[in-house]
């Protein structure tokens, strides 16, 4: 009774806040967020699905990314929520995903084409089919080529280090009177590729978080120093408390920085908003002492196990995961596909007239070969979120002058240990 009451109250709260009501019989509700144009593309695809399947009414709820991050969990804990959701918090909520195995036409097709990422989104040791990645992402950098040219500064080469990029961007900053030379999104995920490039390993032998090591310390110190020197944009990291996410894409789009470290999902956004205002190039990840690693990740479309229409969910998922639809979605959204068959067959014709786009996508494909093992392990590691949150919170405090680096490292270890201890209760 108590559980039912709490569930109802929590669901009412979360649903009220998200403005989403549970689907009726015959309805399949999809909670979706967009970084670029994918909301329009998926709506178009779903309209065609509904024409071919008149008995199934798919309702696409386009919500802000923050809604997915903050409110979906509450709905799920209450046994409510949409029937399908597009999520990036793949592992932490894995207990709520529907096993699609009995509801899809050919489970082996799913395993063969999407199986490499299933462990990213299912509980450890599980063998369910939880969904599929709508895109594979890789963190990496973008340079404003026009600003570099105007400043007479050469773009650093393929094996350039973080120091090389910081130095080159600082020359552009000085020449073009920019507020900052470069910016990295305020996110623990985003600085984990660079950390690993300097030798960091987050995962201890028993699978629990390892103490903050020299790899993390090396890059954290560089980032703090660059911020203090005015090279790295202070606004992005210092302008919030806690683990709040802040992207620096607008600074890059408005040509306020010469170099931007984010990821492949920004390509459509940059292309749409920059247009022909200036030329830009993707650079892959700058190098550290251990390598030039980015961090893979992405968004997945997962079935929710509390759905009243699992059969219909299976049909929608089968349609969206089919090879021609994945190829079309990839070409129109400018995302990197996760579908092995689509990748193997090649011939993806990205729909963009922007010459920067194809070059950028090729660069990210090339950079995916640089991912170091310690970075490759992170998407499927269940404590990654705890690590990322502690990194952002404490490094920001150092940048704001509230903590020394040594105090921050100690606090990071304590924060991570506390969160893991809570989660294990």
């Amino acid at each position: 009774m108590m559980k039912k009451l709490t569930a109802t109250a929590l669901a009412a709260l979360a649903i009220g806040a998200a403005g989403i009501v549970p689907g009726q019989a015959g309805d399949v509700r999809v909670m979706w967020y967009s970084d670029g144009v994918e909301g329009e593309v998926i709506q178009d695809i779903l309209n065609r699905f509904m024409q071919e399947n008149p008995g199934i009414n798919v309702i696409l709820d386009n919500v802000a990314y923050k809604v997915v991050q903050e409110q979906l969990q509450i709905q799920l804990e209450a046994g409510q929520g949409p029937d399908i959701a597009r999520v990036t918090n793949l592992k932490a909520l894995a207990d709520h995903w529907l096993d699609l195995t009995p509801y899809v036409k050919d489970p082996d097709y799913w395993r063969a084409n999407f199986g490499d990422q299933f462990d990213w989104m299912r509980p450890d040791g599980s063998s369910i089919i939880p969904g599929f990645m709508t895109q594979i992402t890789l963190t990496g950098g973008f340079a404003n080529k026009t600003l570099f040219e105007q400043a007479g500064v050469e773009l650093p080469g393929p094996k350039a280090t973080w120091d090389d990029w910081a130095e080159a961007a600082a020359k552009v900053q000085a020449s073009q009177q920019l507020p900052a030379a470069f910016a990295i999104d305020r996110s623990g995920h985003r600085i984990s590729g660079p950390n690993v490039s300097y030798g960091a390993n987050y995962i201890a032998a028993n699978g629990d978080p390892a103490p903050v090591d020299d790899g993390v310390k090396t890059f954290a110190k560089k980032l703090v120093d660059w911020t203090a020197e005015g090279k790295h944009s202070k606004e992005v990291w210092v302008s919030a408390a806690g683990s709040t996410y802040r992207a620096a894409a607008d600074d890059f789009i408005n040509a306020q920085i010469a170099y931007y470290y984010s990821g492949s999902w920004q390509i459509a956004n940059l292309s749409t908003k920059i247009g022909d205002a200036f030329d830009w190039v993707a650079t892959g990840s700058p190098c550290g002492t251990a390598g030039c690693s980015g961090l893979a990740g992405g968004a997945a479309l997962v079935g929710i196990k509390y759905t009243k229409n699992p059969e219909d969910v299976g049909k929608v998922m089968d349609y969206l995961a089919s090879e021609p639809i994945v190829k079309e979605f990839t070409e129109r959204t400018l995302f990197l596909p996760a579908h092995k068959g689509v990748i193997a067959k090649g011939g993806i014709d990205f729909k963009s007239d922007d010459p920067n786009v194809k070059a950028a996508l090729n660069k990210f494909v090339e950079a995916s070969g640089e991912i170091l093992p310690n970075a490759a392990a992170l998407p499927a590691w269940k404590w990654a979120s705890a690590y990322y949150g502690a990194l952002v919170t404490r490094i920001s405090q150092v940048m704001a002058g509230e903590l020394s680096l040594e105090e921050a490292y100690q606090r990071m270890d304590e924060d991570i240990a506390d969160q893991v201890a809570q989660a294990k209760k």
Binding site: M2, K3, T6, A7, L10, Q69, E70, Q73, I74, E77, A78, N89, A92, P179, K234, E235, V238, S239, A240, A241, G242, S243, T244, R246, N254, Q256, S385, A386, Y388, G389, T393, S396, Q397, M399, A400, G401, E402, L403, E407, R411, Q419, Q422, A423, K425
Partner: protein, 337 residues
């Protein structure tokens, strides 16, 4: 004309009279069976039910949450941990130095909130008083000016935060004006001092109209003959303010201070939109801490958030009791005057 009005009035009252006649007998029977106490309970029951469901029950559930651990959201799935979260929050070697506390972010939020309350309430009371005094004078277009000062109160806090963020950001309106005037742009929201000052200032701007209105009502209730008598005696304006205006405005002033105090302790929305709690944690206030821990962090801790909100609630209860006590004293004084 008069009889027409009466007839319309009678026609409109007829259904009410009929309904009253219909329930009159059962109510009388109920009253004779239960007495006047029973009737009071009967009429209070709907309100008490709503209060119980929407205030008391969540309060009790929140307290129970604060005694449980883990990251699960369902109470039955959460293990009992007793006072663990309270111990964590209160574990400090030196309460004046948040860095000596186990949960340094909580104590930073407490310190920031305390400083914010003192500055915001103090300054807002002064600004509201000055505004009310000005608006009480015989100004041209007085109603217009009253509306201008009250207008920000009608805005959503999120809108307030966004407007001021647009003004204060690096490429914002204020820096544009500074630049045009030949000054150096300042990055207001990444400087610890200016960000805190902005949080205080914006909050005052958003709410001062409401408190000025309360004080204005108080000013207008002061009998004019007192001022006339003072004028005839040749009393200086400053003395009139300290000896007549301020003492007679004290009850309104008290309401303003206590309401502003309670609201300042709960500060969240406009500052969250404006600064996000930054730079660093310099505008991290208690409500944002609770929100971050309970809802926004990647691995949430609802028990810790609940414990922090119980502690904050305790502070608010103390403030409310002070308000009730002072109100009672004031009404006692007013009765004897």
């Amino acid at each position: 004309m008069g009889s027409l009005k009466r007839n319309i009035g009678a026609a409109l009252a007829a259904p009410v009279t009929a309904a009253a006649a219909l329930i009159d007998k059962p109510l009388r029977a109920w009253q004779s069976a239960t007495g006047t106490g029973g009737m009071a309970t009967f009429f209070l029951a709907p309100n008490m039910l709503i209060f119980g469901i929407f205030v008391l029950f969540p309060l009790v559930v929140n307290f129970v949450y604060s005694m449980t651990g883990g990251t699960a959201l369902f109470l039955p799935d959460r293990p009992f941990v007793g006072a663990e979260h309270y111990e964590r929050l209160l574990d400090c070697t030196d309460y004046t130095d948040p860095r000596s506390c186990k949960d340094d972010q909580f104590w930073i939020a407490v310190r920031n909130t305390a400083l914010f309350v003192v500055l915001q309430v103090g300054l807002m009371t002064v600004v509201a008083m000055i505004t009310a005094l000005i608006l009480n004078r015989d100004l041209r277009a007085r109603s217009f000016w009253r509306a201008v000062f009250f207008f920000p109160v009608l805005l959503s806090p999120v809108v307030v935060g966004l407007i001021w963020r647009w003004i204060l950001q690096r490429e914002g309106l204020l820096n544009f004006m500074l630049y045009e005037l030949g000054g150096e742009p300042v990055v207001w929201l990444t400087d610890r001092f200016w960000a805190f000052a902005a949080a205080v200032g914006v909050s005052i701007w958003a709410h001062v109209g409401f408190y000025a209105l309360i004080l204005l009502a108080g000013l207008q209730a002061i009998p004019r003959d007192l001022y006339e008598a003072a004028e005839m005696d040749g009393t200086r304006p400053g003395r009139v303010f300290w000896r007549i205006t301020l003492p007679l405005l004290a009850p309104n002033l008290l309401v303003v201070i206590v309401l502003a105090l309670i609201r300042a302790v709960q500060i969240f929305d406009e500052v969250y939109v404006l600064t996000g709690g930054g730079p660093g944690t310099s505008t991290l206030f208690l409500t944002q801490y609770i929100y971050e821990v309970g809802f926004a962090s990647l691995l949430r801790n609802p028990g810790l958030a609940a414990a922090a909100s119980i502690l904050m609630g305790a502070v608010l209860v103390v403030l409310t009791l002070i308000q009730l006590n002072l109100s009672r004293r004031n009404s006692g004084k007013g009765g004897g005057r």
